[in-house]
Amino acid sequence: MAFQAPIDTYQGKIREVIMGGESNQITVGGEIAMPFHFFEGEMSRKPVIAMEVYDVAPDNWSSAVAKPFRDVLSDPVVWAKKCQDEFGADMICLRLVSTDPNGENRDPAEAAETVKAVLEAISVPLCVYGSGNIEKDGEVLKKVAEVTEGQRVILGPSQEDNYKPITAAAIGYKHNVSGLSPIDVNMAKQLNILMTQLGLEADRLVMDPSGAALGYGLEYVYSIMERLRLAALQQNDEMTQMPILCDFGREVWKAKEAKTEDEPSWGDPEKRGILWEFMTAASMLIAGGDVLVMRHPEAVKLTKKFIEELMS
């Protein structure tokens, strides 16, 4: 008798989260088997790539990753448009770093104006991430939610200590929320429970189980994602059935292997950085990532090709 590979069956299904306004909707999620296990179940949707855009020109990007954006770094609107038109971004992830109280400390209304301008310029869905400051993010994202009503933006990162205002804003203005938890299955689930308890529909949530780059904790995030996915599919655990957002672009370009420029024995710095980001992206895809937040256009291109090949 010929060998028959064992096949797992699953009871659960990943929720489908719709992003974008009426004219530019895309949906992620819907998986009924482990990622790319086509022999076990359908995976009808491709993972999507959101390209990072900063609301002020970043001052610490290595030239390898800054180069493709050289002409647009100081204008988020043009930058976002370039990502969409030239680099084929499925989504834009706009980071409101200027709102950080320890930095430029821009006020929420001003930041929201940038969001509005970006949104008007692009036709792909938007994800807006605050600066990561617990208190300020609550205020900023509330304002952002208000000016983007109806556009099903992903608001984030919503964390244990500020999920209330962010979730309330998402409920009020009908957006999605990305919940950020510290590399732990239980904590990711707890945050989902807390946000849904406030009244947010479960299919307006994506999980951000923390980003990590190759060589810098990738395997931890990988195993957490895998466990979340197994709980969702095998145990039909409703509070882990959210699509997963992987925010690793900025982690990759912090790694010395990606950003070091004057180390000829390590090879071409640009190529090295791109591959570092791509390798991270590939791992995240296999672990179950649904939305990848990435930085370098060439890494995005490689990842897209990789997705095509995996899907075919």
């Binding site: 244990e160 299955v185 239980n186 707890q190 429970i193 807390l194 308890q197 509070m239």
Partner: protein
């Protein structure tokens, strides 16, 4: 005798024992009446009208003669003497509380009645006193004094075993028997097969034979004086373990013990707490210190080591080996209990580094080791120890819960003593609480059961979220931003014993959630590793130094225990202390303790990386896997 009490206008009924307090009956019936003084009678808010039946009322100045004629009473000052119909007037109502399915009122197995367990063992204390009258020696009857005593013991009391004697007794014996004109009382220690004379006193003092049972807890030390002749408890006392100044948990105590003079200091601190308790007991009972002829102690392995002055250094280092698990009878004065010079002491045998004599004592006292029923025994203290099994097999594990359940590390925490808030209800509309204290006096703090109650109520009334964070946006003066973060006011300053607001802070809640998570995680792993489903467990026994009113329902609401039929959960009180008490009355029981200790298998949780995972998932109310708690979630929804 039971009486039925009906409360109008809610039309709620409850059956209670005669003599039960009317306010407690109302709480049991889920009828909520204003009560902010803890049942002291000073706030005068719990006014109700007795429409039918009889109550005994303590006098109060809070009611006018007219009101008394109309049938008004203060519920907290009334004891129930017959079936009753009680009306709660609008001004005493606290609003609508959370409706919940009632747990049977009998889920409390209090510390009274502990001696009934003793029926299963021979009632022969390890320390006996015999009064003998000897013929004075003469030239023809010229055996030595010791032989003379032994001869008389054999003749008058049928004592045939080989009798040994302490040198210290020999030193004073000759003088004492002569001064007493050959009429003396001899105290014997009967251990296993050997018998030893440990004291010779003048005259007949056989009636004055007392033992002290002591539970050496990491946070609290409990002691009980037992009249060995009457086989009754005559006094009880407890106090915080003075070692707490050297660290809150066993790990920090072990670290302290390795410092210079650390072990000596820890030993003398625990000895001083025990000494003070013993003196207090003797005072309370009106006996001489020297009448306490025996101490039976039960503590966890580290507490036992420290009491005996043994270094716990190697317990802390892998592979975690104690010096001994089985301990000899010793003289109390060798452990720094100088006042009790001739008193003998024994410690309950331990199982492993982190499962000690307190658990062995509790398992024996609560009957687990002789029961056919598959039982889960949980001792909730600074260390949470959990035992699963029955007479055929037992597996134990231990997890560090911290002192929160004993009121430690909690802003207004206190031991389960007079004035401690032990029951709490909170109105989910107004956030107003109803509190009852131990001894029904003005509240002085909160004890473990009060904290569990408070957290459960705060959770169900949405004052805290599932992560244990207080919702400061609630429109209530009781929820406020305090010095150390958000807090909830359980009692205002003018109602408390020390004139300070009694609050539950977010930090307190966090400590309590960590404590309950550790225990829940321990239970989960113990069940998993023995492939036992919670539904296969036939009985759950909870031990711990709580007050008298630990409510199983609330324990489940906060997710300390899995959801499980209420009627199969019993609260045994301080199992360790009850076990030690029984041990002082039965040497057979003490012998069996050795057997039980060696039979119990130990599961090391630190060897299992699943513990951390289970712990984090239990750091949530009631649990991250909410589907494990359908009843609690239903209650939360129906609030």
């Amino acid at each position: 005798m039971k009486h039925k009490v009906t409360f109008c206008p809610d039309d709620k009924q409850v059956e209670v024992e005669e003599g039960e307090n009317l306010l407690r009956a109302a709480m049991a019936a889920e009828v909520h009446i204003s009560a902010s003084c803890g049942g002291d009678g000073t706030c005068g808010k719990c006014r109700v009208i007795v429409e039918k039946g009889v109550v005994e009322q303590r006098p109060t100045s809070k009611l006018t003669t007219e009101e008394i004629e109309q049938g008004y009473v203060l519920a907290c000052l009334s004891t129930i003497k017959s079936d009753l119909e009680v009306r709660v007037p609008p001004e005493s109502r606290l609003g609508k509380f959370i409706e919940r399915e009632k747990a049977p009122a009998s889920h409390i197995l209090s510390a009274k009645g502990w001696e009934e367990h003793l029926s299963s063992w021979q009632r022969r204390p390890p320390i006996q006193k015999y009064y003998i009258e000897m013929p004075a020696p003469n030239l023809s009857d010229n055996v030595d004094d010791l032989k003379r005593i032994k001869r008389e013991l054999g003749k008058e009391h049928g004592l045939e075993a080989e009798v040994d004697v302490d040198l210290s007794v020999l030193k004073y014996m000759a003088r004492v028997i002569r001064e007493a004109d050959w009429r003396v009382t001899v105290t014997l220690l009967e251990n296993n097969s050997s018998v030893k004379i440990i004291k010779v006193e003048s005259g007949d003092t056989a009636k004055e034979n007392y033992a002290a049972a002591i539970d050496i807890g990491t946070t609290t030390i409990g002691a009980r004086l037992i009249d060995l002749k009457e086989r009754t408890a005559v006094a009880q006392a407890s106090n915080y373990n003075a070692q707490a100044s050297c660290g809150e948990d066993v790990i920090s105590r072990m670290i302290f013990s390795t410092k210079r003079d650390g072990l000596i200091k820890l030993q003398s601190l625990v000895a001083s707490t025990i000494s003070e308790l013993l003196m207090k007991l003797a005072d309370k009972a009106g006996i001489k210190f020297s009448d306490t002829s025996c101490l039976v102690l039960a503590g966890n392995t580290i507490m036992t080591h420290l009491f005996l002055g043994l270094s716990p250094k190697y317990i802390r280092e892998a592979p975690y080996i104690p010096t001994a698990s089985d301990f000899p009878w010793i003289k109390a004065k060798d452990c720094g209990l100088d006042v009790f010079g001739e008193t003998y002491a024994c410690c309950f045998p331990c199982v492993a580094s982190y499962v000690g004599g307190d658990i062995v004592a509790g398992v024996l006292a609560s009957g687990v080791s002789r029961s056919k029923k598959l039982t889960l025994y949980i001792d909730i203290g600074t260390n949470g120890e959990i035992v699963l099994g029955n007479t055929d097999w037992m597996v134990a594990c231990s997890c560090s819960a911290g002192p929160a359940f004993e009121g430690g590390g909690v802003k207004h925490g206190m031991r389960a003593a007079k004035g401690a808030i032990e029951q709490v209800r909170i109105d989910c509309g107004t956030c107003e609480p109803m509190i009852l204290t131990i001894g029904q006096t003005k509240p002085a703090g909160i004890c473990g059961s009060g904290l569990i109650d408070a957290l459960a109520e705060m959770f169900l009334s949405r004052i805290v979220d599932q992560r244990g964070k207080i919702n400061v946006e609630l429109n209530s003066p009781r929820v406020r931003e305090g010095k150390h973060g958000p807090e909830y006011v359980l009692a205002w300053a003018d109602e408390t014993a020390n004139g300070e607001d009694i609050v539950v802070t977010e930090v307190d809640i966090d400590n309590l959630i960590r404590a309950k998570a550790a225990i829940f995680a321990g239970i989960s792993i113990l069940l998993e590793s023995t492939s036992v489903d919670i539904s296969d467990v036939e009985e759950i026994l909870i031990a711990g130094a709580f007050g008298n009113y630990l409510e199983i329902e609330r324990v489940q609401t906060i997710g300390l225990l899995p959801e499980y039929p209420f009627e199969k959960v019993k609260f045994v009180g301080n199992g360790s202390l009850i076990g030690a008490s029984l041990g002082s009355l039965s040497k057979e029981m003490l012998l069996e303790a050795k057997e039980v200790a060696s039979k119990m298998a130990y599961l090391e949780l630190s060897a299992d990386n699943k513990f951390m995972d289970k712990y984090i998932s239990a750091l949530f109310l009631p649990h991250t896997n909410v589907e494990l708690f359908p009843m609690v979630m239903k209650e939360l929804k129906n609030r």
